[in-house]
Amino acid sequence: MTNVGTTVAEADPASSAVPLPRRRGIEFTLIVLAVLLSVYGYCAVGLAKDGNLPPGAAGYGAGLGVLALLAHIAVRLRAPCADPLLLPIGVLLNGLGLVLIYRLDLETPGDRAAPTQLVWSALGVTLFTVVVALLRDHRTLQRYAYVCVAAALALLILPIFFPAVNGARIWIRISGFSIQPGEFAKVLLAVFFAAYLAANRNALAYTGRRLWWFQLPTGRVLGPIVAVWLLNIGVLILERDLGTSLLFFGLFVVLLYVATGRTGWIAVGLVLASFGAVAVGWLEPHVHSRVEDWLHPFASIDAGQGPNQLAQSLFAFAAGGVLGTGLGLGHSILIGFATKSDFILATAGEELGFAGLSAIFLLYGLLVERGFRAGLALRDPFGRLLAVGLASIVALQVFVIAGGVTGLIPLTGMAMPFLAQGGSSVVTNWAIVALLIRVSDSARGQVDGGPAL
C-alpha cells in the first residue's frame, strides 16, 4: 500500500523541485478514476431501471468532476506534499454515495434526495478547499482550542431548542434545510481534545497520587477535560443521540491513551463504557429495544408484526450474496424509513454484494490508515493527536454503523461517512479529509528533516 504509484510520481515534473516525491499526478489519475467509476455507476442504475442512460449523467459527471478538480487544484497549490490517496477516496465514496441515493430516489418518487446531497457535497468540497487554502499550518488550530470547545458545546446544545425529529433532538431546521450540528461538533471536539491533551500530557501521565499501581492525574489537569466530556455526553443523552455520545467516548479514551501511554485509561474507559452501556441499555427503552433487536432480529416476525428494519437490512445483505444483484436491481427500499441515511450500506451490500461491500470497507480502512500514518510521521504532539483523533472518528463511525446494520453490534443511528444522505455529515467529512490533507502535507513535507520521535 505504501508504494502505490511511486513510479508515476517520479515521472511527475512538478515533484522534481523538492526532494520528496509529491505524487500529485497519481492523485489526479485516481480522482479521474473515482469520477469515472461514479458516473459508470450512475449510468448502470439508469440502464438497469429503465434501459436508458439517465438524462442527468453528463451533468452529474461534470458536477462531480469539477468539484474534484477544484479540490485537487487546492491541494496542488497549498498542500503539495499531501497524501495522494485521501482526496480520491473522499471523491469516490462521495460519488458512490450520490449514486446510491440517486438509485433509491428512483424508488421513492416523492422524495428526491440526490440533488440536495449534490449541493451539500459542493458545499463540503468548498469547505475542503477553503480549509486547505487558508489553513497554512495545522498548529494554528491549537490556539483556538477553547473557541472550538465553546463552539462544539453551543452546536450540541442548539437542537434542544428545536422540535424532535423521529424521537431524536439532534436536528435544526431552517427554511427547509435540516442541519445536524452534532456532526460539526465532532471535528471541533477532536481539535480541542488534541490541543488540550498535547498541552497537558506530561501532567496527565506523571503527576498526581498513586492508587495501588494506578497513577491518578491531578484533578486540576484532568478536571476540565472530564467536565467537557461529561457535558457532551450529558447533552447527547438528553438529545438521545447515543451514537454520537459513543463516538465521543471512544475518541476521548483513544486520545487519552495515545497522549499518556497509560493502559489504565483503556481499562477505566472499558469499565466506564460497560457500566454506561448496561445502565443505558437497561434504563433507556429506546436503546433497550435496539439491544433486543440485535439479540433477536427476527423476534418481530415471530410475533407476527413483520420484519423490523434490522431484519430487512439483513435480508438485503443476504440477497446481495457474494457478487450482488447489480446496481438498481435490489430491493433494499423494503427497509423503508432511513434507507438513504442510516441503512445506505444495505443498498451497497445488496446491489454490489460482498465484493462491493468489502471494497467500501477497505476504502474506509485505507482512509483511516492514512490518517494514522500521518500521525506517526508528524513530530508535534498536537498534530499527531489531531491526526489520530480524526482517523479514529472515521473508524469508529464506520464500525458502529456498519456493525449495526449487519447485525454485529446493536444498531445505533449514525451516518456512514460520505455515503449516507445528510448534508452536515458530508460537509463534516470533507472537513476531516481537509484536515488530514493538511497534517499529511506537514508530515511528508517537513523540510526541517528527521523522522518523527
Binding site: 427476527f298 439483513l314 494514522f372 506517526l376
Partner: protein, 488 residues
Amino acid sequence: MTKYIRHPAVLCALLLVALLVNAVRVQVFAARGFDDNPANRRSAIARYERPRGDILVGRERITGSRDTGEQLRYERTYRDGPLWAPVTGFSSQVYGTTFLEHAADPLLSGTDPLLTPFPLWNELTRRLTPGGDVVTTLDAAAQRAAFSGLRGRKGAVAAVDPSTGRILALVSTPSYDPAELSGNAAATGRAWARLNGDPDKPMLNRAIRQTYPPGSTFKVVTAAAALDAGVVTDLDAPTRSPVPYTLPGTTTALTNEGDGCEDAPVREAFEWSCNTVFAKLGVEVGVARMAATARAFGFNEGGLRVPFAVARSTFDTSVDRAQLALSSIGQYNTRATPLQMAMVSAAVADDGLLRRPYLVERTTTDDGNTVGTPGARSARQVMSPGTAMRMRELMEDVVTEGTGGNAAVPGAVVGGKTGTAQHGVGNSGTPYAWFVSWAQGERDVRPRVAVAVVVEDASAVRGEITGGGVAAPIARAVMEAVLRAPDR
C-alpha cells in the same frame, strides 16, 4: 508516543476484520436462511416480476397478466373468470394459488427447470425465464353450455372424453371471479372475506371437491356388478323382487317413486329406476363383489389428480345387508364427485375401459415449444366388454323409453341414467338431481362424451325434482356442444 499511536491503529484494523468477517457470515453463510425467511418479500417480488404464463382452452387464452407498476408488478387477469374458475382456480398475490394455477405453478411462474435449456447461462446473465403456457383439454362450447345450463342453480357438471380421459368440461356454480383475488389491495381482502363468508360457497369446486350421494345413478355400478358377477344373466327375466322391499334384517320397507317395479326385469327396473329391484340386486351380489366393482370404477381410491387433487368417492365396505341394500342404490354412505360419476358413465361408453381423467393437454414454453404432454395413461378394464355392451343398452333405453327422455339428442345415440338423491336429516333436504350420460354422434365410431350433472337445490316443487327433469337437459346441452364440434 509512536507506540501508542500504533495500538489504536491495530485496533482499527481488528475492527475492519470484524466487519469483513461478519459480512461474510451474513452474505455468504447465513444468506440462504435469510433469503428463505417467509417475511422476506424478495421472493414474492421476484415471483411477480415477470408476467405469468397463460392457461389456454384450445387457442383461447383464458388468463392474462397486467402490469400494475407496483412492487408486486404483474397481476393475474381472467377472461370469463366465473366460467373457468373451477379449472383455473385463482392466482393471488396475497392468498396463493389453487387448482391449475397451483398445480402448474412452477411452469406458469417460469421457475420450472424444464423451461430453461441452459439454466447456468440464465443464472449468469440474470435473465428471467418467461412463464410457460398450459393448454387444457377443455371444450369451450361444452363448458359454456354446462355453465349456462346451471345458471342460477347450485350444482356441477363434469364431462370427459370416454376414449381418452380428457376432461371436456368442469363447471361449478355458483361461481366467482378469480380476478377479484389477484391483487393485494384492500378490495382483495374484502372480496376474500365475502367469498369465504358466502353460505353458497362460490369458491367450492363442486365438480371435483364435493361428494354427493349419487342416488339412482349408482345403479349403473350395481347393474354392472350384477352382470359381471352373473347374478343377472337375462336383462328381460323377472327378478322376483317384491314391492315394497323389506331391508334384510330390518322391518324398514323400501318403496319406489313410480309403479310397476314389482318383479320387474332389470331392463325395466333400470329404465324406471326401481329402488326395490336394485337394492335386492346389490344384496344378492354381496358386499365383496359390489365393493370390487365400485373400486374398479374409482370409488375408495384416493390420490386421483387431474393434475389437482380430486376428492375421494366412497362406497362403504363395512356394512350389514340392509346398509348394503341402501348403498347399492346410491344412498347410505355412498358418495361420489360429479367427476367420478362421469368416469362411471365413460367406462360404460368405452367398452368397460376406464381412463384416468386429465385436464392438461400439453405444456409449452412462452414461444409455443412443447415442454410436456402429461395426459394419457393406460386404461383399466372395469367390467367385461360384454357387460359394458349390455350396460350401454340399458342406458340407451333410459333415454329412449325411460326417465331420461330429456337427454335425447336428435341424430345421436345417447345413454343415460337419472338420479334423485335423498339427503339431510331424515331425508329432509331438497334432493339432489343427478344425470349421468354419454353420447355418440351419427358418424362417430365410439361415444365422444360422458357427462355427469348434479343440481343441488333445484328450484322446483319437491316432487318434481328428478334427474330427468332438471339435470338431463343440462347434460343434453353439453353433449350437443361436444357432438357439434368437428372431431379432434
